[in-house]
């Protein structure tokens, strides 16, 4: 099982969620984060003092899938989150050793 984590632009969340549900993922977890990659932020003035807004608001989307589904998930997310502009975000994939559904105690792919 794999955990696919995507950092996307906030307003793309709805599209990503729909794209993921279309390929049949069973759930997702999101959190607001701030970050920067190549998109470096910009300078603002607040009351005359410079203010580097280097961290821009992003949404982190986590979806746990069976290993087979990883490619599909990446494609779904990339397709939905892409605007072609800088700051579109990144996807990270990590391995899950175990998954447990608390309510039933099911484990492994069953639990997804």
């Amino acid at each position: 099982m794999k955990l696919v984590t995507a950092i996307i632009k906030p307003f793309k969340l709805d599209d990503v969620r729909e794209a993921l549900s279309e390929i049949g993922t069973s759930g997702i977890t999101v959190v607001e984060v701030k970050g920067f990659g190549r998109q470096k932020g910009h300078t603002e003035l607040y009351r005359g003092a410079e203010y580097v807004v280097d961290f821009l608001p992003k949404i982190k989307v986590e979806v746990a899938v069976v290993a087979d589904q990883v490619e599909q998930a990446i494609e779904a997310i990339s397709g939905a989150a892409k605007t072609g502009k800088i700051g579109d975000g990144k996807i990270f994939v990590t391995s899950l050793d175990q998954v447990v559904r608390i309510r039933t105690g099911e484990t492994g792919p069953e639990a997804l």
Partner: protein
């Protein structure tokens, strides 16, 4: 002379309207105070309760309450009823001007409409006290039903006993602007509700430990307190009922000064008391201290010197800190401290009257206190009980955990602020 009387009437009416508008503003104060002291997930609901109760009070008092509280001719216990106010009408100018100037202030010296306006916002104040104490777990609609009964019947009846010229007035009970009739009454209704309702889930641990449930928004709570402080100038200042000559103008000014002094005393005393007990300058206690000072002086804001007013307020401020701790210890869960501020300190306010006002007696004050508490508490208990066994008064455990905002109002007070949001950014 007619010109003079016209002016007098106009000035006293205007004074009444301005004071009434300030009291109306207290509704916003209660709303902000309570919204600041509950958790974010229960904020929209408490806001809804606060604006709806003000509206209900306005309507019920117009339809019924005013006609219970003020018509002349009752026997002191049972009021004469007169529900004609809703159809309008006011003093006839010609008749007003024909009154003998000597007995002017016993006659119709200001607009009847302005009288209603000033009275109606008092009812709403009493009701506002309740909403804070039962916050975060009471069903919205049951609360609103209670508001109908409280503002239509329970409050007006005891209001009649005192300010409508009933038996408490005859007894010599003194309550200038309502430490008893408004604040203790509100707190008594709240206490009855809380007893039937029980504590919030998680407030008291299985092993008896008391858990803190911090309020979500201190600026709102502070704003609410400042609003109430401002509004109280109308609440107490308007209760002098006359402004239009030197003696009365002096009296109104003294009431303003003493009201402010008592609030200041309450702030400093509560701040120091909390500092001594907790080692920190607990802001919420300080806010409660301001309100305690205000409640304490409300029963007699005219007679005291500024110094004594400050002391009356300061004692209120100390009292409220201990009352909140004690009431929490005996497992009465009052999220905003309403029972302590308006009930315990309201009693202190009533008992403090004889110290500065020679016409007051301790026995009359005790009687008044017991009558108000007894009637409002019992009548409320019955009302809450009927609601409990019929429509229910408490939300489901699940709704309580999730927050009543979603369950009762279908929206969140701060949909974006707690962690991430689903959509709509």
């Amino acid at each position: 002379m007619e010109d003079i009387l016209n002016l007098r009437y106009a000035l006293d009416t205007f004074y009444f309207l301005v004071c009434g508008a300030l009291v109306m503003w207290m509704a916003a104060g209660f709303a902000m105070l309570e919204a600041g002291l509950v958790r974010a997930k229960n904020t929209a609901e408490i806001l809804t309760k606060n604006i709806a109760l003000f509206a209900i009070a306005s309507i019920m008092y117009m339809l019924v309450g005013y006609g219970i509280m003020y018509p002349e001719g009752g026997n002191g216990i049972i009021p004469a009823l007169d529900f004609s106010f809703m159809f309008g009408g006011d003093n006839d100018p010609a008749a007003v001007l024909a009154q003998d100037p000597a007995g002017w202030y016993e006659g119709d010296y200001y607009s009847g409409m302005s009288d209603f306006f000033f009275q109606v916002v008092f009812v709403a104040t009493a009701m506002s006290i309740v909403s804070g104490a039962v916050a975060e777990r009471m069903k919205l609609w049951s609360f609103l039903w209670f508001a109908v009964v409280m503002t239509g019947l329970i409050y007006p009846l005891q209001g009649y006993w005192m300010w409508g010229g009933g038996f408490l007035d005859a007894l010599g009970f003194k309550d200038f602007a309502g430490s008893g009739v408004v604040h203790l009454a509100g707190a008594s209704a709240a206490l009855a509700g809380v007893l039937l309702l029980g504590a919030r889930k998680g407030k008291y641990g299985a092993n008896g430990e008391i858990r803190a449930i911090p309020g979500a928004n201190m600026p709102l709570a502070t704003l609410g307190t400042f609003i109430l402080w401002l509004g109280w100038f109308g609440f107490n200042g308007g209760s002098e009922l006359i402004l239009s000559n030197v003696g009365e103008a002096n009296a109104v000014a003294a009431v303003f000064v003493n009201t402010n002094a008592a609030a200041a005393g309450g702030v400093v005393a509560a701040l120091l008391a909390a500092r001594m007990i907790f080692g920190k300058a607990d802001l919420t206690m300080t806010l409660n201290g301001a309100l305690a000072g205000l409640v304490a002086i409300t029963a007699e804001p005219l007679a005291p010197s500024p110094l004594w007013a400050t002391i009356v307020g300061a004692i209120g401020g100390i009292l409220v800190v201990f009352a909140i701790i004690t009431i929490d210890k005996i497992r009465i869960d009052d999220p905003v401290g309403a029972i302590s501020v308006h009930g315990v300190v309201g009693m202190w306010g009533l008992m403090a009257v004889p110290f500065s006002n020679e016409d007051a007696t301790f026995s009359a004050q005790v009687t008044g206190l017991l009558v108000i508490f007894g009637w409002v508490f019992m009548a409320s208990l019955v009302t809450w009980f009927i609601l409990k066994v019929t429509v229910g008064i408490r939300v489901s455990e699940e709704e309580e955990f999730e927050g009543v905002d979603i369950g009762e109002c279908g929206l969140e007070a701060y949909p974006e602020f707690v962690g991430s949001r689903g959509s709509g950014r």
